[in-house]
Structures are given as structure tokens and as C-alpha cells.
């Protein structure tokens, strides 16, 4: 039906789009894996990160890629404070409360943005925004290639943190057995906040890679939430490798689905995967069996 050139381009497209999805999902899966929170505010946080990157460029002339060392720690701080100051306090350890809190936070974030930044859609123009690279028959946009590389680097970094640092060990301990970790003297509240912070830091990175080829307005986060959830479930809740691979997979499925079924109906592919995975293999591709 489609010739090879188009299929090849479509798959490559999907991989690069999926890279950004993966970055968003990485944060979400960490937050879920450790705190067992479904973070409803993830999309809104991405939106705030995008605004931050936007203003860094327009007000201070800092290129999005150079803004990484600012956006990442900035979002980390936001996440840490939110978790420590609000979510932890409001949760009372009940699932439904945490759900409502993250929902409330997302409403506040979205409308603060509306209030402060107005509803206009904003985009930036950089020298490389329109540049493309030819890979075989495909013309891939440079920002998307950078995003792909970025996703790999960030995942590797996360992996290293989780595997080789004390913090990472503490996080894994708390994720597996909270009470035991407490007995070992680990400050669970601190670890929770660190994890939430890292989760949002991933969004800081995602924003830097996303903005050059995309745009930002107060509602922009909503478009990524469902996709991110799908990837987290597909990859296995709490698995980084899963989020990465899942991101790429979902990106490709979305791309090919759009090609074969049309962009609107093609979105169904994502949810069909989601439902299929949840029903038949709930631990996802790489998650641990409960």
C-alpha cells in the first residue's frame, strides 16, 4: 500500500516523536514506581517547563539546548517542593486524596499560566528549527534528532543514578519496601520528594527538546498526559527501560497508525495497545510481576 520510503520515514518519525514521549513517561514512571502516585499534574508541569524554556529564550536569549542546565534543576526544585510541601501533607496516605491533590495542582498550574502568560500560543524560532538531516530516503528534522539523542542520554543518566548512587539505592529501597527502608534509617519523606523532583526534572529536559519544533500555551500539557500513561503501563510501571522502549514503540505505532488509519482514527492504536497490555500483560514489557 505504501512504498518503502514512506514507511521508513514514518518509522523514523515515530521514533523521534516517541523520544519526547519517553522523556515525559520516564518521570511519570519514576513517580509511580516509588510513590505509587498517578501524577495528574504531569501534563501541567510539562507546560510550565515549556514556558520556562520559552522565556529563557525570549527574555534572556538562552537557546533551549543551552537551557538544559537551568530547566532541569529548576523543575527538580519545583517537584521537590510540591511533593514535600503539598502532596505529602495532603495525601494522608490515601490514594484517592493524592489523586485529587495532583488534580487540584494541575488546575492551579494551568490557570496560573493562563492568568500570568495569557492564552496566546507561543513558539520560538531558532536557527536550526527548520533544518533537516537526510537519513536514507527520510528527511528528519534536526530538533527531533536531538530529542532522540537527548532521551537516550537522560535515560542513561537516570539509570546511573538509580544503580550507582546512594540516592538511587535509597529510592529503590523505598520503592520496594517503605517500612523496611524507614527502619534502615532512610528519610522516606526526603526520598519521596527527591523522586518527585527527579520526575519533574525529566520534564525540564523534555521541554528543552520539545519547544524548538512545537509550541506552548496553557493547555498544551493535556495532549501528552494520556500518551504518557499509556507508555508507563506498556513499559511496566516503574521501569525506565520500559518507559524508553515504550515511548519509542508508542511513537512508531502512532505514526504508522496515522498512516494507515488516518491521523484521527490512528490515535486508537495507542489505546488499543494500552488496553491490550493491561488486560493480557499488566506488568508491561519490563515490569516486575506483582
Amino acid at each position: 500500500m505504501f512504498d518503502f520510503d514512506i514507511l521508513f520515514s514514518s518509522v523514523l518519525n515515530g521514533l523521534t516523536t516517541g523520544a519526547v514521549y519517553a522523556l515525559v513517561a520516564l518521570g511519570l514512571t519514576l513517580i509511580y514506581g516509588v510513590l505509587h502516585i498517578i501524577n495528574f499534574a504531569h501534563g501541567a508541569a510539562l507546560m510550565l517547563a515549556l514556558y520556562a524554556v520559552y522565556f529563557l529564550k525570549t527574555q534572556f536569549g538562552i537557546d533551549p539546548y543551552l537551557a538544559l542546565p537551568i530547566a532541569i534543576p529548576g523543575m527538580f526544585a519545583l517537584g521537590y517542593l510540591l511533593q514535600r510541601g503539598v502532596i505529602n501533607r495532603a495525601g494522608h496516605g490515601r490514594d484517592e486524596n493524592i489523586l485529587l491533590v495532583t488534580l487540584g495542582i494541575s488546575i492551579v498550574m494551568e490557570n496560573l499560566a493562563l492568568l500570568l502568560f495569557k492564552s496566546d500560543t507561543r513558539s520560538i524560532d531558532t536557527a536550526y528549527s527548520l533544518a533537516t538531516v537526510e537519513i536514507g530516503p527520510a528527511m528528519i528534522a534536526v530538533p527531533k534528532l536531538v530529542a532522540f539523542a537527548g532521551a537516550l542520554v537522560v535515560s542513561a543518566l537516570l539509570f546511573w543514578i538509580m544503580g550507582r548512587t546512594d540516592l538511587g539505592r535509597a529510592i529503590r529501597a523505598v520503592a520496594r519496601e517503605k517500612e523496611g527502608a524507614k527502619l534502615m534509617g532512610i528519610d522516606v519523606d526526603h526520598v519521596y520528594a527527591m523522586s518527585f523532583g527527579i520526575g519533574l526534572a525529566c520534564l525540564g529536559a523534555a521541554a528543552c527538546f520539545l519547544l524548538p519544533a512545537y509550541y506552548v500555551n496553557p493547555q498544551v500539557g493535556g495532549g501528552f498526559v494520556l500518551v504518557a500513561f499509556t507508555i508507563v503501563v506498556l513499559g511496566g510501571m516503574g521501569s525506565f527501560v520500559g518507559a524508553l522502549v515504550g515511548g519509542f514503540l508508542v511513537g512508531v505505532v502512532e505514526s504508522l497508525g496515522g498512516l494507515f488509519l488516518g491521523e484521527s482514527l490512528g490515535q486508537i492504536g495507542i489505546f488499543a495497545i494500552f488496553i491490550g497490555v493491561v488486560l493480557f500483560r499488566p506488568q508491561g514489557m519490563f515490569g516486575a510481576r506483582e
Binding site: Y32, H36, I38, V86, R89, A90, H92, R94, D95, E96, N97, L99, L100, V101, L103, G104, I105, S106, I107, V108, E110, N111, L112, A113, L114, L115, P218, L226, F229, T230, V233, M237, S264, L265, Q267, I268, F271, A272, F274, I275, V278, L279, F280, P282
Partner: protein, 345 residues
């Protein structure tokens, strides 16, 4: 069997004498229905009647969610799928089937219940719980939305418009009072069903499954059947709300029908009000609806500020009222019981 499951759970409200409490609740329901039903007799103010009607609508969807979420312990993020199914059935039955609006309402309720049973069967058969169940319902709702956009009999992206033909026989009323009474009847039905879940055997099984599925199974309860029943009932009421929406606003499209807004409104009302209680959804829906109304035009010059306030109040409610608004009553009663020297069994 009732008491074993119930007594084993310290979270459940202290209930000294079930029978008397149950009767008291029933009386309260009747009083509530009568009181609200009389509102149109005391005011002709369109905005007041509209407010009460929409508050009842918010109550109905919160109650529906509460049946599955509060009593059944299965949190759904995609309740809009039942709402939308009911709405589309209501519209399509009238537009393409020429069916009377009241008959369509019955069909919408039945149809939504079927959707509930189908998705429930699929989800519970595979043992989905907690977050997985929640997210799967979200995914289902999205699938419904996308399908509704793509097929022609739903009108696709254009949506469906039900023509204006005001007549009670057509479930269209010239004033809001008529709609208010219909909605009140539905809320009354939901209250009665919730009362039955609170005090009846099926409800006890359901709550037992909610609290500890394995223990419940050990005592002879069939979790699958019980949960299926809950989702069917919950879906039926959501379908009624959807049909009602079509009758009042006469327009439906995939975003309104299956979009996350309705799912969120349902669960927020139930949780803020107090899950697993009789009056929780009523209180929660009322408080949130009131809050939205009050803040909406408070700062007309600064759009967005109203929603910031709404979101902040939501967070504050969760921080200070972890059991929801109805939970205040629970805590008060527990303190009272403790004050009198030990909990009553």
C-alpha cells in the same frame, strides 16, 4: 456474613443499631427529595432553578461514581464512557429511530448499563484493580471518543442536534422546573440505590470485596459478580445523566460525551463529598458547584484566577478533610462515641 466483613474493618462507620439508622436515612432521603422538589414552587428565578438543576446533575454523576468507587472500591477515570453512551443512545434513538424521548431514556439507561457490564466483565475477568483499572477505564473512554469521531451514525465530529419540540411528552420543558423534577427523580433513585448498598446484603458483599477481596471470597462472596453488578448499576445512572444532558442542551458531540471533563467532575464530587457514604456525593457536588459559580465571575477582568482559586480550595479540602465533607460527620460521631466511653459495636 454482613457483620463479619463489616466488623472486621475499623474504617467503616460505627453503627449502633442498623435498622433504626437505616430507617432514619430513608426518612432523610424523603425529606431531601420533598425539600428540593418544592424549590420551583418558591422561586421562578431562572438562574436559581438552573443552579439547582445543574447541582442535581452534578450530584447524580457523583452518586453514580460513588457506587462503583466508594462502595466498590474500584476507581474509574473513564466514567464518561457510560455518560456518553447514554447521551448518544438518547440522541440517536430520537433522531434516527423516531423513538419517543422517554422511551429513549429507558434505552439509554439500559444501553449504558450494558456498556458497563461489558467493560466490567473484561476488566474484572482479567483481575484488574487499583491504578490499572482506573487507567483502563480512561483508555476505554478515549477509544469511545475516537470511535464516535470516526463513525457516521454519531454524526462524527459534527455531533448530533436534537430538535426543539417543547412538550412534557417529549421530555422537553419550557422552564427549568420540569427538568429539575426529572433530575430530582433520578437523584432520588440513586439515593435509594445507595441506601440499599449501605444497608443491604449486596452492598455488604460489595464493601467486603472492596475491603479485602480474598477474605470476601473465603466467606463465599463472588467478587466478580458483585463488582459486575456495581459497575452495571453505576453505568446505568451515568447513562441517565447523559440522556438528560442531551434533553436539556440538545446537542452532543464526542468531546462533550466522552471527554475527561465529565469523568473528572464525577469523581471529584464523590471524593470531596466523602466516598462510600450516602450523602457524600450530594454534599460534594453542591459545594463544588457552588464554588465554581461563586468564583466564575468574581474576577471577571482576570480570567483564570477563578479556576486558580477553585483548584486551591480543592487542594485545601483534601488537606483538611481527608474523608471528605461527609467525613466530618464520621469524625464527629467517632469522637462522640469515644467520649462516651468506648466504641459501640
Amino acid at each position: 456474613m454482613n457483620r463479619i466483613a463489616i466488623a472486621a474493618n475499623p474504617d467503616v462507620e460505627v453503627r449502633p443499631r442498623e435498622g433504626r439508622t437505616a430507617l432514619r436515612q430513608l426518612a432523610a432521603i424523603v425529606l431531601f427529595v420533598l425539600a428540593v422538589g418544592c424549590v420551583p414552587l418558591f422561586t421562578a428565578s431562572g438562574s436559581t432553578l438552573n443552579f439547582v438543576m445543574m447541582a442535581l446533575y452534578a450530584t447524580l454523576i457523583a452518586q453514580a461514581w460513588n457506587m462503583l468507587g466508594g462502595f466498590g472500591g474500584q476507581f474509574s477515570f473513564g466514567h464518561a464512557m457510560f455518560f456518553g453512551s447514554g447521551a448518544y443512545i438518547q440522541a440517536i434513538a430520537q433522531l434516527q429511530g423516531g423513538i419517543n424521548a422517554w422511551v429513549a431514556l429507558a434505552l439509554a439507561i439500559a444501553g449504558a448499563a450494558c456498556v458497563g457490564l461489558a467493560t466490567g466483565a473484561l476488566s474484572f475477568r482479567y483481575g484488574l484493580k487499583g491504578s490499572y483499572f482506573a487507567l483502563v477505564t480512561l483508555a476505554f473512554a478515549e477509544v469511545f471518543r475516537i470511535v464516535a469521531l470516526s463513525v457516521s451514525f454519531t454524526g462524527g465530529g459534527v455531533g448530533l442536534m436534537v430538535p426543539l419540540r417543547e412538550a412534557p411528552s417529549n421530555l422537553q420543558f419550557a422552564t427549568r422546573s420540569g427538568y429539575l423534577w426529572v433530575m430530582l427523580a433520578l437523584v432520588a433513585a440513586a439515593l435509594l440505590v445507595t441506601w440499599w448498598l449501605r444497608n443491604g446484603r449486596f452492598g455488604a458483599w460489595l464493601q467486603a470485596v472492596r475491603d479485602n477481596e480474598d477474605a470476601a471470597r473465603a466467606v463465599g462472596v463472588n467478587p466478580f459478580r458483585v463488582k459486575l453488578g456495581a459497575i452495571g448499576i453505576s453505568a446505568a445512572f451515568m447513562g441517565a445523566a447523559g440522556a438528560f444532558y442531551v434533553q436539556v442542551f440538545q446537542y452532543i458531540d464526542p468531546a462533550i460525551a466522552f471527554g475527561p471533563a465529565t469523568s473528572i467532575e464525577a469523581l471529584v464530587g464523590a471524593i470531596v463529598g466523602g466516598m462510600g457514604t450516602l450523602w457524600g456525593p450530594v454534599l460534594g457536588a453542591l459545594v463544588l458547584h457552588l464554588l465554581a459559580e461563586l468564583t466564575r465571575n468574581l474576577f471577571g477582568e482576570l480570567p483564570g484566577l477563578n479556576m486558580v482559586i477553585y483548584g486551591t480550595v480543592l487542594v485545601l479540602i483534601v488537606i483538611f478533610l481527608p474523608r471528605g465533607i461527609a467525613g466530618i460527620g464520621l469524625s464527629v460521631r467517632r469522637l462522640w462515641a469515644q467520649g462516651r466511653g468506648g466504641p459501640h459495636g
